[in-house]
Symmetry: C2
Subunit: 128 residues, 2 copies
DNA sequence: ATAGGTGCAAACAGTTTGCATGTAT
DNA sequence: ATACATGCAAACTGTTTGCACCTAT
């Protein structure tokens, strides 16, 4: 995606401004508030290009579409609610380096992610 | 899935005997060696029931179908190869307890999983 | 001017569901 | 005997692709 277009800028800004990871459908419908005839395929093409460039990152959770979020340098820990299935990117005091695993011979680690399951404020009843 | 059937037993055994997490399609084609007219939908129905009962657990990785593996009590750390996309369940000296996160107010953690990215023995060239 | 992007529709892959038939209890 | 499981096909959801038209460079 080498050329600068209205659509591309809009899709990028939509993800950047979001406060939580968004699905392609969410990105699309949000962006359509600006460009009402924006194609869903265009959204997918840009999201994919942004992910390839590591400008955004995809987060997956079983049975749900991939969500994308802005990469602002620091890794996020992700929290998925067992009840409502919403996905949150938590700013946590980071584990920073990979735990010193003894990987089996031949395996080379380049990164890692910690996913926490549980109940979000709305579902835990501890919403305060 | 309260009733004991040939299909149900076969699907369960197929996952239990596998050495790595399998996709529904893999489970189905493997199981078809025993019951050649096994329905794919039946496979999905049993896999889902097993997952609901926490007999098996689903593992996801972006852009790939969910894979299912036997739950043998201890949690596994999962390793996904950036090159060939194969998924491995590693037996590692377990982090055991959840790292003592300071979760934001209202969040309640019930579990967690660590996913490591990198290169598998076949792709790292360190296959020995 | 022209390579690359866009919108639309059709194609695909994975998964779920409806329904008539089969079978464990 | 009968409620539940099965197999098949059709339906659905999320994502990708083909293609004629449009637009940033």
């Amino acid at each position: 995606m080498a050329r600068r277009t209205r659509q591309g800028t809009l899709i990028l800004e939509t993800i950047r401004k979001a406060k939580r990871p968004l699905t392609p459908a969410e990105i699309h419908s949000t962006a359509m508030r600006e460009i009402s005839n924006l194609g869903l395929a265009t959204t997918y093409r840009h999201v994919k290009a942004l992910a390839d460039d590591s400008v955004v990152v995809g987060v997956d959770y079983p049975g749900q579409p991939t969500r994308y979020e802005w990469v602002d340098g620091q890794d996020k820990t992700h929290f998925t609610c067992r009840s409502c299935d919403k996905l949150f990117a938590l700013d946590l005091p980071q584990t920073d380096e990979l735990p010193e695993f003894d990987l089996p011979p031949g395996f080379v680690a380049t990164g890692g992610e910690f996913i926490v399951y549980g109940l979000c404020p709305d579902c835990s009843g501890q919403n305060k």
